[in-house]
Amino acid sequence: MKYFFLMSFLLVIYINSEAQIGGSYAPSDARSTAMGNTYTASTRGIFAVGKNPANLALNSNNGVEIQTAAIPLPLPSMNIGVGTNFMSLKDYNYFFGGVPDPADPSKKVGRYLTPADKEHFADMFKEGGNVFTDFSLPLFNLYINAGDKVGAFALTLGDRVSVDFTAPKGLADFAMNGNPEGSVYNFSDAKLTAWWLRSYGLSYSRQINDLLTDVFKLPSNLFEQVTFGVTVKYIQGYAYAATDQFNASIETNAGGITADAQARGLVAASPNFGITYSFDSLSTKREGKFSPFPTPAGTGIGLDFGLTAKVNDILTLGLALTDAGSISWKTNAAEYSYSTHFIMTDPSNEDKMNAIGDSSKDYEGRYLSSFSTSLPLALSLGAAYQLDQAPFISRFPGSMLLVLEYHQGFNDLPGNTTTPRFGFGFEWKIANGVPFIRSGVSLGGRENFNWTFGLGFNGGIFDAAIATRDLNYFFSNDIKRVTLALDTRWKF
């Protein structure tokens, strides 16, 4: 039990930068993170890759941008978080901080939880205990803007390792209250998805004003600039493990304890990992072999589409559909399934208990010829408004960009959720020499609410940014997470 709570509160690390595979709520670059995790209409240059490729061609002062993990200066590109989405530090300290030992006040002993404490503890998990760990490493990102007529290009190469685990809501309740008669616990919301993907992306974006006027006969003055972008990603999957189906419940009543579980998991792994499945008694033990370019277990094609309309210097609208495509896992593709149903009514009956035991062992694994998984397909709509240039503003200290976005994921793959999310943020440049001040809120999605904040620095040949998406905890003792996003891009 001790380790359960420890693990529940362990570091949840987000290291993220310009991930070419995103989703509707995945941590983003520091600038976007600071602005309520908005980016559809507001990102520019290399940071637009994976978010809205149409933004690549928007007028930028930079002809070339480079981001690489090989140059972590002045700031490394990372998005790191500590905490959970279900337990605050205050709660942690209350429940796990201990109380003075009555026998020796200089020492601490575990707190005895009253019924109210137990109820509170269980309530913390009412929304489930989700742990999302995402590690994205931009191995090499190159952005080249060849001008309005030619368009902008981006070559990206990056890895992404994601683990999305959801502890079932009923688990804490079960742990606190046991299984009194009449209790029913459903653990079917437990979920695990983990993968390691490598994306080779080629993005292209170009202004399409001519197309709109010549082909669609739109007035030339309707938009100041309209760009379209597309990213084609060749995706190699090195590892995949996920619950494809998980239904579990435990019910205690006068008749006994009824347990049901049906689970199906899919796995695939690169041969370089040397994984031998438990069901495969015929294969010789495989040896792992390190390689910077492992043999993929699955491959697929992903597409990002973007359309951005700069109405004028004040308003920009963006639309992006990201990660359309799928991965077909063919190497070491396997399925584990487990199903059990038992009613424990009479532990004294060895036959019945043996039957339960036999039933509980009734899992099996087998190779599959292949299976496929979608990419975290998401749709985003955004609007960026340059407030300081608004006609109703006569004088404004510095410049301020307002951003409003809507994100809709179409699946629950890592970084994605079907729960809609709204983001609102701003970027305020008060004066030269003063860092950009960025902040915003994110409503909905997996984390319900985030107050984001960050600072940005324009270093001439580089931009650096720092942000947090959990500023709300800055003003509260009830902190659940500490997150920090950093990144740097070199521009020429």
Binding site: N93, G97, A175, E181, G256, S348, N349, G459, G460, N477
Partner: protein, 693 residues
């Protein structure tokens, strides 16, 4: 550039520091909290049905749904009865038939001896007359006494009938008259064997006077006869008569002599007689095929003369296809006997009509003529047949068969009550409607009476029964049933423990009542097959029934290791009584050896109060359970009691059962059905302190 780098780096450090220092306390280390959690688990849920108690016995069954005794438990065993063959039991005992009186030869018709003549001389009448003189003959009266010549044919006879004819020829021409004429044995003149009062004899020149003198029956006649009489004549007066040499000539001849005894020459005489003897005083046959057996014919010849002839066994034929009965030639010397063996194997007895128990035979013999030899025989001399018949083994008999008893070999029916034997004790067990049935199938159509005995292994008690096979068609099983009441009493006598086996033996008697009206055919190969079936529904009255069972608890070892973390245990016992009888439940938790009681249930009560009483289930008018009764008791175990529970490995349940009326000693039977049960359900809610050190 350097400035920008430096500024950015400083901000990068300040921002997190400011953020982290302002928004959060550091974690205060880790001390796992403690709390009490209620862990509920079923401990046991055991349903004690009588069916469950005896589940190891395949012999316990239940009546199927929809039947009048639906779900009622019953014990049933079915064992084949060893084939019983009539075989050697079809037999006729040894017979010795002797005609002690014999067959008399009877009166004998002997040949009449040759006539014998004698003459009365002139001188015997007139004294000095000289033959050939012619003289007037004076009247005369003289007594005469004169013998005949000797008879050569016999020395003597005893006459039964017959006569002596006298032919009296007068040679003198005067009339004579013989008065008081008597015939007698010469040596016995005082006992005449015949007489005539007056015999007129006409003068010469006339036919002789013929007189037939009846002879006295029973008179012994020797071979020398004489006669006497008084002869008178009136004379010739004046007429001269030439004197002949003889006056009167008398010739005697036996007519139709029948004698009862004779010593003399014996002519041949036929003796013929038809006899019979009784085969069996109860068996009457139309046809009998003899498998094995023989007979001996002995003829005693009690006549002083040889016999020849034959004896015909009128009812016995050599083979079934023989058209003529067996005939055996005889040749027996006088005053001797002759025995003749006859092999009867394969022979057939035929009554020729209605069933009979008599075997007829005819003796046709004849005495051999003695010729000139003298033999002495009497009418009472006889021949005496003796027939000895060995025990006859019969192949078949058609007729009225005497009661023939066949042993039924012992058939053992086991009573395997499974665990019930070990787990169920009782002072009295009254069964209702038990059945012990013998299903028998005779191969032929004959009436059979079964006299049986049921014995219980290990007990002296016996149960006798008798019944008839009712179905005689020989195709389907006929039922022989032991009276249920007798069987119930028999079974109830074995308290407190059932015997493990019942052995059924007895006899089957064919035509047990000697039915004279029914003709059966019984063959040596006829048999009786069948099976014995014992069934006793557990429709029983139980007095002081006691059912004990031990159940392994399978409490997890982890629980035992963490006893210090258990604050208390709430044990809920629910006893649901589905039996139509009240039960008292008591229990104890035992250690792993099953010998040491760790904790009694319910705990902390006086021994006399330490039980949970559950009333009997509700039953309808048919005695069927309609609703079980239930009782729930909650026991909180703390401290050492909780520890004892956790350390226990077994629970022993004791269920005392009494049907209504048990206290008065006459436990009324109630139906125990497979659906009737006693369910003991125990669950525990363990108050477990998590992270208790």
């Amino acid at each position: 550039m350097k400035q920008i780098f430096t500024r950015t780096f400083i901000f990068s450090l300040l921002f997190p520091a400011l953020y982290l220092s302002g928004c959060m306390d550091t974690p205060d280390g880790f001390e796992a909290p403690q709390w009490d959690v209620n862990l509920s688990t079923p401990v046991m849920d055991t349903t004690y049905t009588l069916a469950d108690a005896i589940k190891k016995s395949d012999m316990i069954k239940s009546y199927p749904a929809g039947s009048p005794k639906e779900n009622l438990l019953y014990y049933a065993d079915n064992k084949p009865i060893e084939k019983v063959t009539v075989g050697d039991n079809l037999k006729i005992d040894q017979i010795v038939a002797q005609n002690t009186a014999g067959v008399s030869i009877g009166n004998i018709n002997i040949a009449a001896p040759a006539p014998s003549s004698t003459s009365i001389a002139i001188t015997s009448i007139w004294g000095n007359l000289i033959p050939n003189q012619s003289v007037p003959l004076p009247p005369a009266a003289v007594d005469i006494n004169q013998g005949f010549g000797q008879i050569n044919e016999f020395e003597h006879v005893v006459l039964q009938s017959g006569s002596l004819e006298l032919s009296i020829q007068n040679s003198v021409a005067v009339n004579f008259e013989i008065d008081n004429f008597k015939i007698f044995n010469t040596d016995d003149p005082n006992n005449p064997i015949g007489s005539v009062a007056v015999i007129p004899v006409p003068p010469a020149g006339n036919n002789p006077a013929v007189v037939t003198i009846p002879l006295n029956p029973g008179a012994r006649i020797s071979n020398k006869l004489s006669f006497s009489g008084h002869l008178t004549t009136p004379g010739s007066g004046t007429t001269f008569i030439t004197i002949p040499p003889k006056a009167i000539t008398i010739t005697s001849s036996f007519k139709n002599p029948v004698v009862s005894e004779v010593n003399g020459q014996i002519p041949a005489k036929a003796i013929s007689t038809q006899k019979s003897f009784e085969l069996d005083n109860q068996t009457k046959f139309q046809t009998v095929v003899i498998d094995q057996g023989s007979m001996s014919l002995t003829l005693k010849n009690n006549i002083d003369i040889d016999l020849v002839g034959s004896i015909e066994l009128s009812s016995i034929y050599k083979t079934p296809s023989s058209q003529q009965p067996i005939s055996i030639p005889l040749n027996v010397s006088g005053n001797s006997e002759t025995s003749i063996p006859v092999d009867l194997s394969g022979s057939v007895l035929k009554s020729g009509g209605a069933p009979t128990n008599l075997i007829s035979y005819t003796i046709n013999v004849s005495t051999v003529s003695s010729g000139t030899q003298y033999r002495t025989i009497k009418s009472t001399d006889n021949i005496s047949p003796i027939i000895e018949m060995s025990q006859l083994s019969l192949r078949s008999i058609t007729g009225i068969v005497k009661p023939t008893t066949i042993d039924i070999k012992p058939t053992t029916v086991s009573i395997n009550l499974g665990d019930m034997k070990e787990k169920f004790r009782y002072a009295k067990l009254n069964f209702k409607d038990p059945d012990l049935k013998l299903y028998l199938k005779p191969s032929s159509q004959f009436k059979v009476k079964v006299d049986g005995t049921v014995k219980a292994k290990g007990y002296a008690n016996t149960l006798k029964f008798s019944d008839y096979i009712s179905n005689l068609n020989g195709q389907v099983d006929s039922l022989v049933e032991v009276p249920s009441a007798d069987l119930a009493q028999f079974l109830s006598s074995f308290a407190p423990n059932f015997p493990s086996e019942l052995t059924i033996s007895g006899t089957a008697t064919v035509n047990p009542d000697s039915d004279p009206a029914t003709i059966y055919k019984v063959a040596q190969s006829d048999s009786i097959t069948g099976h014995a079936e014992i069934t006793f529904p557990l429709n029983a009255g139980i007095s002081d029934g006691e059912f004990t069972d031990t159940t392994k608890l399978n409490l997890k070892d982890n629980l035992k290791k963490e006893i210090n973390k258990i604050q208390s245990i709430v044990l809920t016992l629910q006893i649901t009584n589905g039996l139509p009888a009240s039960v008292k439940w008591t229990g104890s938790f035992l250690d792993a050896t099953e010998k040491i009681k760790l904790l009694d249930l319910p705990p902390n009560r006086k021994p006399e109060d330490r039980f949970i009483l559950v009333p009997g289930a509700a039953v309808n008018s048919d005695g069927k359970v309609t609703a079980p009764a239930s009782r729930t008791e909650t026991v909180e175990l703390t401290g050492s009691d909780a520890e004892k529970f956790v350390n226990s490995s077994f629970i022993i349940s004791n269920v005392a059962i009494n049907t209504s009326g048990a206290t008065s000693g006459s436990a009324s039977p109630v139906e125990f059905k497979i659906t009737d049960s006693i369910r003991l359900k125990a669950s525990a809610t363990v108050v477990y302190r998590v992270n208790e050190k």
